[in-house]
């Protein structure tokens, strides 16, 4: 089973990193979602592998048969935060598209005019005042 999970995680990570590296914000976002999923799975598997009893305390003690609840709790948090990040990234993508008419990171980099003033704004205003 371990080898299957390893290959599965590896495949999803490969796909997600490939998407990540593309020049389009939306594809990057899809890559991010996939990546998050794969990493969540990897963390859960680092806790324990195999079907066992869910971490629900019975009246009797669970003992060694219980799945590790700690990674589960952590991943649950990660899933929700991942959702928040996805939503935020999507809105930024949409905003970028509307503002600059493109979702290509190359074109976006050009759309942002480099603003490196020769002097600080403070000094400039002082010169004006003087």
């Amino acid at each position: 089973m371990e080898i299957l999970f390893a290959i599965a995680i590896g495949t999803v990570v490969t796909a997600s990193v490939y998407l990540f590296l593309s020049r389009d914000l939306l594809r990057g976002l899809l890559g991010f979602i996939l990546f998050g999923t794969a990493v969540n799975l990897a963390i859960l598997l680092a806790g324990r592998v195999g079907p066992m009893r869910p971490p629900l305390v019975d009246a009797a003690v669970l003992g060694a048969g219980a799945a590790n609840p700690l990674p589960q709790a952590l991943i649950l948090t990660a899933i929700v935060i991942g959702f928040g990040l996805t939503a935020f990234a999507l809105i930024l993508t949409l905003t970028a598209h509307r503002e600059f008419g493109t979702t290509s990171v190359e074109e976006l980099a050009e759309a942002e005019t480099p603003k490196v003033p020769a002097n600080t704004a403070a000094a400039a205003t002082r010169r004006e005042a003087a």
Binding site: E2, G10, R48, L76, G84
Partner: protein, 972 residues
């Protein structure tokens, strides 16, 4: 009657409380704020005076409250004679400044803000002088820097105020950071941050290897704060502040914090060569340079600022001379300087207030126009010059005596008396210039406005301060003697040196030096007449050395040039190289330990392959790969395939006995997919993209091949690590701790949920706060967003749909939607209460069985989304009032209040309580306070999710331009 300890705490607490109250008063209640601020300062002063007997003979009052016991830190207040003296200065001059500001500030100024900042500063300053703990002292130290920043920048509409405030903050706060590091080193040497312990451990500190670094860092803090050379330049720029602020912060109190600290720590850090050279040299340079520059200022406040720098240099020099009598003289001069300089600043402010200018070139002959102010200012300036029978004379005599008496047989020692006399001469000159330039001479010709009658109370604070100058100057032993004595005892302990506070000491060298300084200063003033009347701004020798310009240059070099060079050499504006860099670093970080320790599969035997799950994962892997392959042109397909991979992971979670995760993952997948679908309609259509990408050059193919190679390497690496981890036995984690205590302490049987809402409740609170922030940000971004004119077209789908509707007959566009989804819409509508019930069910069982606030919240929001899908935005919002922002607020409040509730029962934040009461009929039910917390999570998740989705959905019901670009009203 309150005890001394609680009174002491009250002194510190009052200004902060007052600051809060005043800050919330309406800003047009001019008098109320001034009254309140004045009452607080008066109360502080009264308490301080009442506490005097307790500190009179070198004793100290201490209050300690546990602060961070794990670090051995207590919140300690400590008042000895020295701290008492400063408390009286801070509250007393504070009172006068409030009274003065009441008349000085224009009715148009937002005075609530002014008095709130002023009181905040007063509290911070009292915090410095009353701290019995060095860390705490640094905290209040930085607080004074911050409030000084706010006060200098009070008239923030002027560039001068903004620049001055920023410069003061940059210099003093960086000094504060140095001080902090120095204090940490001292704490490390002593083993405690307690001031008493530190003062006792002088010998240990001085002999330690880290003594010099600690000393240099602490002195950097003190010298920047007290505007000592070469950090003096911020003080003249800070004169952009309203004059009451200059009188209070930049003459009497804040700039004294540096010299205060040096005197305070002198028993622990002084008595060394390093102390003598650093402090003494800085003081001497500042003393002479400040006095020299002050002579050539054309602005009254500028003159006073440089003279303040010079006098602070004098105090620093006295401290640097490393003798107990020097310390006594320094303390005495701090008192005297505070009184005459604050009154001079106030007088300059009155002149400005009345005539509209502070420029010495335009002022003249004001003696006739404002005789009271003139008389008071002349007395104060005479005290600044060191004229006998005024308090400035006394401490200057003590200083001369020190300068002459000091003997270390170095060159420094030999030139010291001459330089002291020279600087004293300069100070006579600039005092004369202040008096003569403003008050004597012909009647003023070109004043911006004719002086209106002075508000009678405006000169009262000046009169009080000047009478103090005169009284101390004439009867020093009676008026100032006891207080100086107790202050000296506070610093030096029982062994205070013999000194004499008398006006007349007979004919001696100090008196001779005074006479020389007086005569020389007067002659110098006459000699300089021609240069000064030429109206040149600045001094003959150092005019070109504009410290502000140097500061600007350095700041630009540090912040802008260095950043740009770094960007040019190591950076790129393109995202992809950056991403590759990040991946490369991640790979290297993962490979490094592998190369060091070797990599091998663990000892655990692999478990048998489950054929069903294998099959599921074949689908999952295919989905992931296909998503990556399709994403370029088939966004929709890629999205669905990504969802497919997510679902496979969801099944895997279930297989791995993680039911909560499976549930959450499933719901998040649903919501994410809906969200992305809503988003997709605003992105370019597929066909356009294909057109744009027709020309696939070999270069592009090569780049994608490189991307694929990197991705494969990363994937294999992650797979290998995952495999290596899985084949090793799981380390002993905290898991058993949670499993054992979930029911007994958390009152729930679902360990995951108990961890989330109870054991790790604080994390969850942070997490839902993040979710709320994200939702609000999304909302704000979409609401405030004004689309570019060429992109406000309706989405393709809407256009087609409306076209179809129009073709089918005369009816409303929205009807088309209702028709095409008639049956599903009906089902969805009927499902609303059912899904609601499921959500409630999932929520209620959450503590014991899979479910909980997150899952239930997502379920509930799915119910809402379905209604939007079925009926359309307008239909739903005509029938349901959904206020997601309030849901977010209520949820966060509920969760936080549940946590706070634990305090009411004397437990730490977020402690939960569980019990199993027996209800009639229902029987025994589990009830934990954590369910309230979980309810907060539920409410917030519903609010946040619905808000995000609705905000996005609302984009399509905005009025749009028609698809064909015709001249239509621009409706953004």
């Amino acid at each position: 009657m309150m005890s001394d300890e609680s009174l002491l705490a009250l002194v510190l607490a009052l200004p902060f409380a007052g600051s809060l109250v005043v800050g919330f008063l309406p800003s047009n209640r001019h008098n109320l704020e001034a009254w309140l601020a004045g009452a607080i300062a008066l109360a502080g002063l009264a308490i301080a005076l009442a506490l005097y007997p307790a500190v009179a003979d070198g004793k100290a009052i201490r209050v300690a409250v546990e602060w961070l016991p794990t670090l051995g830190l207590d919140f300690t207040l400590r008042m000895d004679g020295f701290a008492w003296l400063f408390t009286v200065l801070v509250t007393g001059i504070g009172l006068l400044v409030v009274l003065y500001a009441r008349y000085y500030m224009s009715p148009d100024d937002p005075v609530a803000r002014f008095f709130a900042f002023l009181l905040g500063f007063m509290g911070a300053m009292l915090g410095i002088v009353l701290s019995g703990n060095l860390i705490q002292l640094v905290f209040f130290w930085e607080l004074t820097s911050l409030s000084s920043f706010l006060l200098i920048g009070y008239w923030h509409h002027t560039a001068k105020a903004r620049d001055g405030a920023r410069m003061a903050l940059t210099v003093t706060a960086s000094g504060g950071l140095c001080l902090f590091v120095g204090v940490v080193i001292v704490g490390h040497i002593v083993g405690s941050y307690d001031l008493d312990r530190v003062l006792e451990s002088g010998a240990a500190i001085r002999s330690h290897a880290l003594y010099v670094p600690a000393l240099v860092l602490i002195l950097l803090g003190a010298l920047t704060k007290s505007a000592q050379f070469p950090f003096h330049f911020w003080l003249p720029q800070a004169m952009a502040a309203p004059t009451p602020v200059s009188a209070y912060l930049h003459s009497a109190t804040m700039v004294k914090a540096g010299v205060f600290l040096m005197v305070r720590l002198w028993p622990a850090l002084g008595y060394t060569e390093a102390w003598f050279w650093i402090v003494g040299t800085a003081g001497l340079c500042t003393f002479v340079l400040g006095a020299y520059l002050a002579m050539f200022q054309q602005d009254l406040k500028g003159l006073l600022a440089y003279s303040t720098i010079s006098h602070l240099g004098l105090i620093t020099l006295l401290i640097g001379l490393d003798s107990p009598t020097g310390i006594v003289a320094a303390i005495f001069h701090m008192m005297n300087h505070a009184t005459f300089k604050a009154s001079l600043f106030m007088a300059a402010g009155i002149i400005d207030h009345e005539t509209g200018t502070r420029d010495i070139r335009r002022l003249s002959g004001l003696l006739r126009l404002m005789p009271v102010t003139a008389g008071l200012a002349i007395l104060a300036a005479a005290s600044m010059a060191g004229v006998p029978l005024l308090n400035g004379f006394l401490s200057k005599e003590m200083f001369f005596a020190e300068a002459v008496a000091h003997h270390s047989s170095s060159a420094f020692d030999r030139v010291l008396p001459y330089l002291a006399a020279l600087a004293a001469m300069f100070s006579v000159t600039y005092s004369l210039r202040f008096i003569h330039g403003a008050f004597f001479g012909p009647p003023p010709a070109d004043l911006p406005r004719q002086p209106p009658p002075l508000p009678s109370w405006m000169a009262a604070p000046v009169a009080l301060l000047v009478s103090a100058c005169v009284l101390v100057g004439m009867f020093p032993a009676v008026t100032a003697g006891p207080f100086l004595d107790s202050a000296a005892r506070g610093v030096l302990g029982a062994h205070i040196p013999t000194y004499s506070l008398a006006v007349w000491h007979g004919f001696n060298v100090p008196l001779l030096m005074s006479v020389v300084a007086m005569a020389g200063g007067a002659l110098l003033y006459l000699a300089l007449q021609r240069y000064l009347s030429s109206g040149i701004e600045g001094s003959p020798l150092l005019r070109r050395l504009d410290s502000q310009r140097i500061f600007d240059r350095i700041m630009i070099a540090l912040t802008l040039r260095a950043g740009r060079i770094g960007l040019e050499t190591a950076g790129t504006r393109r995202l992809q190289p950056q991403l590759r860099l990040i991946l490369g670093v991640a790979c290297a970080a993962a490979l490094w330990p592998l190369l060091q320790l070797g990599m091998a599969a663990g000892p655990l035997a692999p478990s048998a392959l489950d054929p069903a799950l294998t099959l599921v994962w074949v689908v999952g892997a295919a989905c992931a790969i296909a998503a990556a392959y399709q994403a370029k042109y088939h966004r929709f397909a890629a999205l669905i395939l990504t969802g497919g991979a997510g679902l496979v992971v969801c099944v895997t979670f279930a297989w791995l006995s993680a039911p909560d995760l499976a549930l959450t993952q499933l719901l998040v997948e649903i919501v994410t997919t809906v969200l992305l679908l809503l988003g997709l309609r605003w992105l370019p259509k597929r066909e356009e993209m294909v057109e744009a990408d027709r020309h696939r050059t070999p270069r592009v193919l090569l780049r994608r091949a490189a991307d694929l190679a990197i991705a494969t390497v990363v994937g294999i690496g992650v797979a290998a690590i995952a495999y290596a981890v899985m084949t090793r036995p799981a380390p002993d984690s905290r898991a058993s701790f949670f499993v054992e205590r979930a029911y007994t302490e958390g009152g729930g049987t679902n360990v995951v949920n108990v961890i989330l809402v109870d054991f790790r409740g604080f994390d969850t609170l942070g997490e839902i706060a993040v979710l709320g922030v994200v939702a609000l940000t999304v909302y704000a971004l979409l609401r405030r967003f004004r689309p570019a004119p060429d992109s406000i077209v309706s989405p393709e789908q809407q256009v087609r749909q409306n076209a179809r509707a129009a073709a089918a007959g005369p009816r409303q566009p929205a009807d088309a939607l209702a028709d095409s989804l008639l049956v599903p819409a009906l089902v969805m509508r009927l499902l609303f209460p059912v899904i609601g019930m499921v959500a409630v069910y999932l929520f209620l069982r959450g503590h014991d069985l899979p479910g909980g606030g997150f899952v239930a919240g997502l379920t509930m929001s799915v119910a809402f989304i379905l209604q939007y899908m079925a009926g359309g935005t307008r239909w739903v919002e005509a029938r349901l009032i959904i206020l997601p922002v309030r849901w977010i607020g209520v949820g966060l409040l509920l969760a936080a209040l549940t946590g706070l509730g634990a305090w009411a029962f004397g437990y730490p934040f977020l402690t939960s309580h569980a019990s199993h009461p027996t209800l009639p009929v229902v029987g025994k039910v589990p009830l934990a306070s954590a369910i309230l917390f979980d309810l907060g999570v539920f409410v917030l998740v519903v609010g946040a999710t619905v808000l995000i989705l609705i905000a996005l959905a609302h984009q399509s019901i905005r009025t749009h331009r028609p698809t064909k670009p015709e001249p239509a009203p621009d409706h953004a």
